[in-house]
């Protein structure tokens, strides 16, 4: 079954709910190894997105992604704003103006997002950032015609967990050196929520 703008809307509203639900947890993670604002930043972003989505309708997935990317870039700030914002911006271009996307196409859209994050942030995998969720996850499911969304979700969760034992090399956690080990990366967690809500939404379609 193909993916429409309405699916993405459902997904991102779900992402909104999950971020608000886990806001304090994200902030706690960022207090442990960063500056304690990741939950606050993401919550500000998804609230603005929620307001923006309300009352707007979108014909194509790309239009919706573009609008969300502008909101994230303009409202989140910090490191996560440009990263999520650039990801969604490039995802929008890749989705072009197609009104529906196959699962295989959709994974390619996500791949464009991953590339954008790495271009902006210059992080590799293993450096304890959101890249550690994005890159291996998308690489694993790329070129598959049909995605096992349940597996997609558990993989995202494992990847998030894997950041716990990493020694940070990028982002604020890098300033802590070895003391960063033992904490999940906050951006990895918000990225997990991003992919978890995506998987839940796309699974429900069928």
């Amino acid at each position: 079954m193909s993916i429409t703008a309405e699916h993405l809307r459902t997904w991102l509203e779900r992402f909104h709910d999950e971020i608000l639900e886990h806001k304090d947890e994200l902030t706690d993670l960022d207090q442990a190894i960063g500056d304690g604002d990741h939950g606050i930043n993401m919550a500000r972003g998804v609230k603005e997105m929620h307001k923006m989505l309300n009352g707007k309708s979108f014909d194509a997935p790309g239009d919706l992604l573009k609008a969300v990317s502008m909101t994230f870039i303009g409202k989140i700030g910090g490191a996560s704003g440009p990263l999520y914002g650039s990801a969604l911006m490039k995802m929008a271009s890749r989705a072009s103006s197609d009104e529906t996307l196959t699962e295989e196409e959709w994974i390619n859209v996500l791949e464009a997002g991953k590339v954008a994050i790495q271009q902006r942030g210059k992080a590799e995998t293993g450096e304890k950032t959101m890249v550690d969720v994005w890159a291996p996850l998308i690489e694993r499911f790329q070129k598959q015609k049909e995605i096992d969304w349940q597996l997609f979700q558990t993989t995202a969760e494992e990847l998030m967990q894997s950041t716990k034992e990493m020694h940070a090399k990028k982002g604020r956690a890098a300033y802590l050196g070895a003391r960063s080990v033992g904490h999940i990366d906050p951006g990895a967690m918000s990225s997990y929520l991003f992919f978890k809500t995506l998987a839940e939404t796309l699974q429900e379609r069928s």
Binding site: T27, Q31, I33, G34, D35, G36, D37, I40, N41, R44, I73, G74, K75, I76, G77, G78, A79, S80, G81, P82, L83, S86, R120, G121, K122, K169, K170, G171, R172, A174, Y175, L176, G177, R179
Partner: protein
């Protein structure tokens, strides 16, 4: 958490309005933005200088807007880099035809957001250059990481780039002077107490009554090492040694020193600390030709201090002494 505030969501907005109300002849807020500019911006025929970052570092950055330092300061949410559109508004508002220099502190978020704004401005035909301040020697300098943070040394970059811009220099000259400061300035901080991001409601880390944190940044991040309370002279020595391991000061070198309180350090303690730091430099035979003591680049209500040393040459000395008329820093 006890703070003098009203609505936690409006804290940056109210702060900016409170600043403009206090300094109506010096500052102006761009409508609908978190940007403070010089009252008379853009200054025609002068390179514009834009800095900023998350809020919570006051008087940085708004306090440094004025003749001889910044043309605009962009305020993000507390400890959160401002978004590209805000920085872009600042760039447009201060471009006096000679281009704009962005002074960025080296945090991933700041670098990305300012860079994106620079791209937007270039697309509209405004020449934009940037420098990235990375003076904090607490953090390992490594090409495998995003490198060192920018902290209090940024004040010297503002001062010196601002002075040169005021003299009518070209964008690339102003950028070069800023780069020279960055190459020659090193800092290291420590804290006696943490701070609380208003929207988080609880401190970023905790310290026992007999503990201090060495190598703290300016965002309530934990530092690089925790240790027991020590006399000011020992702390000064620890900070100095770490700076000098990088700077290799020699007898006869001329330097400027910045003793920066992190937000709630009384002037009494900062001057006691300066007394200790000055003794160390004197012992080394280093000439301190300028000392600046105060709270300039803070971390909300954190107690603690950072030591910054800038190695001087004739150009830097003369620009450091040039006039500055900002609300926080006057020369």
């Amino acid at each position: 958490m006890k703070k003098l505030m009203n609505d936690v969501e409006q804290i940056v907005d109210e702060m900016l309005n409170g600043m403009v109300l206090a300094h109506p002849n010096d500052l102006r807020r761009l409508d609908g933005t978190t940007v403070l500019v010089r009252k008379n911006a853009p200054v025609q025929g002068k390179v514009g200088i834009v800095s900023g970052g998350g809020s919570g570092h006051e008087p940085a950055h708004g306090g440094f807007v004025g003749k001889g330092m910044l043309d605009a300061a962009v305020a993000g949410e507390v400890f959160t880099s401002p978004t590209p559109d805000q920085v872009f508004e600042a760039i447009k508002a201060v471009d006096g035809g000679k281009g704009v220099l962005l002074v960025i502190k080296n945090y991933t978020g700041d670098v990305m957001n300012f860079e994106m704004a620079g791209e937007m401005a270039e697309a509209e035909g405004i020449s934009v250059k940037q420098v990235v301040v990375n003076d904090d020697v607490a953090v390992e300098d490594s090409s495998f990481t995003s490198g060192r943070r920018g902290i209090a040394g940024t004040v010297f970059v503002h001062k010196i780039a601002g002075a040169l811009a005021e003299q009518g220099a070209e964008l690339n000259e102003v950028q070069a002077a800023a780069e020279k400061v960055i190459k020659n300035v090193k800092s290291m901080g420590m804290s006696l107490s943490p701070c609380t991001v208003p929207a988080a409601g609880k401190p970023g880390f905790t310290l026992a009554d007999n503990e201090i944190e060495i190598g703290t940044g300016i965002h309530g991040e934990p530092g690089v090492e925790r240790t027991d309370v020590k006399p000011a002279a020992e702390i000064a020595q620890i900070l100095f040694d770490k700076i000098d391991a990088d700077m290799h000061l020699k007898s006869g070198d001329e330097v400027a020193v910045l003793i920066n309180g992190l937000g709630s350090t009384p002037m009494m303690e900062l001057y006691v600390f300066n007394n200790s730091a000055a003794a160390i430099l004197k012992e080394k035979g280093v000439h301190v030709t300028e000392t600046i003591v105060g709270e300039w680049m803070t971390s909300l209500e954190m107690a603690g201090v950072s030591l910054t040393i800038l190695k001087l040459d004739d150009q830097l000395t003369s620009l450091l002494h040039a006039p500055a008329e900002t609300t926080a820093f006057k020369r």
